[in-house]
């Protein structure tokens, strides 16, 4: 006669290691990998803080996403310690993991002991559907999607670079998008500024962008700033955001943005385009160089043409703006290798990408200083950059 389920479970528990919730709590503090194998609805009502979620029904296909190293120690838990025992056996005997433990008493005992519980934020059925392709990625998942929904990203300009960046960030569910632009939609913009359309010629770009974003994704809150970013407003706007997407068309504002973002420790995903060429880098204060480390002084006006005067291939800002959006999402999710300390140059005609290293300048006039040492009185006070950069436009 075949053994009963209870008998098999007893045999399994004899073969695997079990661990007390108190020990798991200590191990979590030292960075142990704890995996919740319960179902989605159980996880949603609360889980151990810092635990990863791999439902037992998807264990075989997804465990390697959270535990790629089979020699690493993995602690599994479920509601009572039974499903996690089965799961531990699977990891050890079927998948070749070397060090797996099942938590005795499961999440029920954890809660009974009064240990801390984290309740995930609610995601509606519609959101689960809308972001389903993100939720399937180990690098995003529900936790990452929630980070995107909580993120606040400021777009400087709803123009060539800002249009595609805003569209895809909105589609990805970045919860708050600030848009700074004092311009109105012109027919000549529509060759590349795809967030606007023919019916919106003459409409403020911030209003046009908001209409498109709202129609694409109602989860996204749009904050409109119908102003030109300058010394008088930058310190009011920037502190409300986690990341800035820079598609600025002039040097004075680029330097102003750099200095303010360094003081506020806000990363800037920066791109520039001209003709068939694009540049891209991520300036994350104190983790990498700032814009002044790369270019301590602006070029004279004859070497600093704007794309309005020189022309730009319409798809180029699309390419560069989407690379910016990609870097923004990586920063929000804290995944991958961001383009910090590197400058990427894209030549559309040659179809080549060249990358050079950017070093932090130990003598940089801005980022070699500690922003915390700058007094409140100094914050928001900037030299007159328009005069400083006279000649550049």
């Amino acid at each position: 006669m075949s053994p009963s389920g209870a008998e098999v479970l007893r045999q399994i528990k004899d073969r695997i290691e079990e661990v007390d919730p108190g020990t798991v709590r200590e191990q979590l503090e030292s960075g142990a990998l704890v995996v919740d194998v319960r179902q989605d609805d159980e996880w949603a009502t609360g889980h151990i803080p810092g635990a990863r979620h791999v439902p037992k029904s998807h264990l075989e296909s997804r465990i390697e996403g959270v535990a790629p190293d089979k020699s690493q120690r993995v602690v599994l838990y479920c509601a009572s310690g039974q499903r996690s025992a089965w799961a531990a056996r699977t990891l050890i005997e079927d998948l070749g993991y070397k060090s797996v433990e099942s938590m005795t008493g499961g999440f029920t005992l954890w809660k009974d002991r009064g240990y801390q519980v984290e309740v995930p934020r609610f995601m509606s059925a519609e959101q689960r559907d809308r972001y389903s392709r993100h939720l399937l990625l180990n690098e995003v998942g529900i936790e990452g999607q929630q980070k995107l929904l909580d993120a606040k990203v400021l777009l400087l300009g709803a123009g060539g670079l800002g249009s595609p960046a805003a569209l895809y960030l909105a589609a990805a569910g970045v919860g708050t998008l600030g848009i700074v632009d004092d311009d109105t939609v012109d027919l000549s913009n529509l060759q590349r500024q795809v967030i606007h359309n023919s019916e919106r010629v003459g409409v403020a770009k911030v209003d046009s962008a908001q209409a498109t974003i709202n129609a694409l994704n109602p989860d996204v809150k749009v904050e409109k700033y119908k102003v030109r970013l300058g010394p008088d407003n930058i310190m009011d706007i920037l502190p409300n955001y986690d990341i800035v997407v820079d598609g600025l068309d002039n040097f004075p504002t680029r330097y102003l943005l750099n200095d303010a973002s360094v003081r506020l420790r806000i990363p800037v995903v920066s791109a520039a385009i001209l003709g068939f060429d694009g540049q891209l880098s991520v300036f994350k204060p104190y983790e990498g160089p700032c814009y002044r480390c790369l270019f301590p002084v602006p070029p004279p006006a004859e070497l600093a043409p704007s794309c309005g005067a020189n022309g730009v291939l319409g798809v180029l800002p699309g390419t560069m703006g989407l690379l910016q959006a990609t870097e923004v999402i990586k920063l929000i999710l804290d995944v991958g290798n961001p383009l910090i300390g590197r400058l990427l140059m894209y030549d559309a005609l040659a179809a080549t990408v060249t990358e050079v290293k950017i070093r932090r300048d130990p003598n940089c006039t801005i980022c070699s200083r500690d922003p915390d040492e700058i007094s409140d009185d100094e914050l928001g006070v900037f030299p007159d950059y328009e005069a400083f950069c006279a000649g550049a436009h």
Binding site: L156, G157, G159, G160, L161, G162, D181, D183, N189, G247, L248, D249, N250, F251, R254, A271, A272, I273, L274, G275, F276, D277, Q279, L294, F295, P296, V297, P298, P299, P300, L303, A304, P305, S306, C307, G308, N310, V312, P317, M320, L343, M345, D347, L349, A350, T354, E355, V356, K357, I358, R359
Partner: protein, 92 residues
């Protein structure tokens, strides 16, 4: 001869070329050879003191020559020099 990548703003000064070649054993010799062959580039690359303008970065392959030996950095024929002036343009 080393390969020199020309940025968009300098291309009008080199007949529209995206890449050119020039002789020289180090960065300074090569860039001065470029300035001789294409006089329009000289004031854009070099200041009155003969040094590289600070708003122009030059990379030997992927490394900024300022963290190497500057204009004295040795260049072999297989190397590529990348000239990178600051660029703005996008929003409008």
């Amino acid at each position: 001869m080393a390969t020199i990548r020309i940025p968009p703003v300098l291309r009008p000064s080199v007949g529209g070329e995206r890449e050119i070649s020039a002789d020289g054993d180090n960065v300074g010799e090569i860039l001065r050879a470029v300035a001789v062959d294409h006089p329009g580039t000289e004031s854009q690359l070099f200041g009155a003191d003969g040094e590289l303008n600070r708003y122009v970065n030059v990379y030997l392959n992927d490394e900024d020559v300022r963290v190497l030996d500057g204009l004295d950095t040795t260049v072999s024929t297989a190397d590529t020099l990348v000239i990178l002036p600051a660029m703005a343009g996008g929003a409008r």
